[in-house]
Structure formats: structure tokens, C-alpha cells
Symmetry: C2
Subunit: 120 residues, 2 copies
């Protein structure tokens, strides 16, 4: 089993100072040791029809599911979540073991084994 | 500017053979060189209230936004998307430059610079 991911996408309420929330969020994940990494982004590109009002994605990565469980129960996470839920207009949350698929590297052009052919 | 991410969360229609779709999806991202990596997962944990029927997340990563643009316009992506849209009950899509925040390593206990103090 590979990494475990905690994915949150949100739309903030109007008049929310998103920068302040982001600072608190980055501080929270930095303070919880079981978090392996954290990345976030603000949608730039998607047609409104496809993003449906959601603007931000937050992706927290753990080495294993047990680390996620520690994170969920951590007092600093619970404290942050209580505040976070008050500034959101909507949220979707998915938690899943991640399957990583990398594109295979290009196969190098094979050289014919000339010397073997010569031996025929 | 760091990596660029293409995030898709979906709920499949009933009677869809998800395994077949996943195989086509993995094949598609493997065939498009501008895709740096691809990961996906099926939600295991979230309360229905929070996942709102969404079951799968797909995250495609690019080295830069230009690689994402190549991906979007690629014939193999367009062919896949045309089929993909027919098997979905709902979808949310976010595209964003990713900000990666890692928890800082624990600061080691600092040794006082004894020799400098001695020179006072």
C-alpha cells in the first residue's frame, strides 16, 4: 500500500480573507508530524461549468493510512477544522490510498545485435 | 513557478465498469509525454455528507503550465474525454499551479558558540 491522500476542495464565503486562512492552514500542517507533505492551489483555468464554483484545492499526503488517522485526531487539526468550516460556502472531501502511475520512459531505439547476427 | 496540477473528482454512473475506464485513463496518460505523473484514488473514509457522492479523484501533474496546455489539446486526451464524459454522473475539475508546503524538519537543539563567547 502506498501513500494516503486527504483531498479537500472548497469555495470560500465572500469577504473571507483567504490569505489568513492559508497561513493558518500551512502552520497547522507544519506542526503535525504525521503529515508528509501538503500542497494547495487556486484554480486558474477551468470553465465555471466544470469547476462549479470551487476555487481552491488542498492535498495532504501521508506515508500511510495510520498517519492520516493521527492527523484527523490531532488537536491542532480539530481546532483548525472548527474555524475552517465557518469560512466555507461549500466543500468536498475525499480520502484515499493513492495509486501512482507514471508514464513509462520512452523505449530507446534498439540497436540490432550485429555481432550475434554475424555469428550465424 | 512550480508544478501545474489537473485535478478531477467524479461520481460514475451506475452500471459503469470503472476498472475499464481506469485502464483507458492510465493508458492515455502514459501515452502523452507532457504528463509528468498521474495518481488516482477511490475514497474510503469520508462521511457521505462531506464527499457528496463523489467517489474517485484523479490528479495529473505537469512540470509546467505549457505541458498542461499540450495535454489538453492532445488528440488522445480529447478522444478519452469524449468517452469519459458519457460515463459520469457528476464531475468537478480544478486546474492550478501547485504550491508545495512541506512540514519543516524539527530544528536541532542549538549548541552555544562557546569559542566565540570565550573570545569576548
Amino acid at each position: 500500500m502506498g501513500e494516503f491522500k486527504h483531498l479537500v476542495i472548497v469555495k470560500f464565503k465572500e469577504d473571507v480573507v483567504v490569505e489568513d486562512i492559508l497561513k493558518d492552514l500551512e502552520k497547522m500542517v507544519a506542526e503535525i508530524d504525521s503529515v508528509k507533505s501538503f500542497e494547495w492551489g487556486q484554480d486558474l483555468e477551468s470553465p465555471e461549468m466544470l469547476r462549479q464554483g470551487f476555487t481552491h484545492a488542498f492535498l495532504t499526503t501521508f506515508d500511510k493510512k495510520e498517519d492520516y488517522t493521527v492527523f484527523v485526531g490531532h488537536p491542532k487539526h480539530q481546532e483548525f477544522s472548527a474555524t475552517f468550516s465557518t469560512v466555507l460556502e461549500k466543500i468536498v472531501l475525499l480520502d484515499f490510498p493513492a495509486t501512482l502511475v507514471k508514464p513509462p520512459p520512452k523505449a530507446p531505439a534498439e540497436e540490432p545485435p550485429a555481432t550475434l547476427n554475424d555469428q550465424k
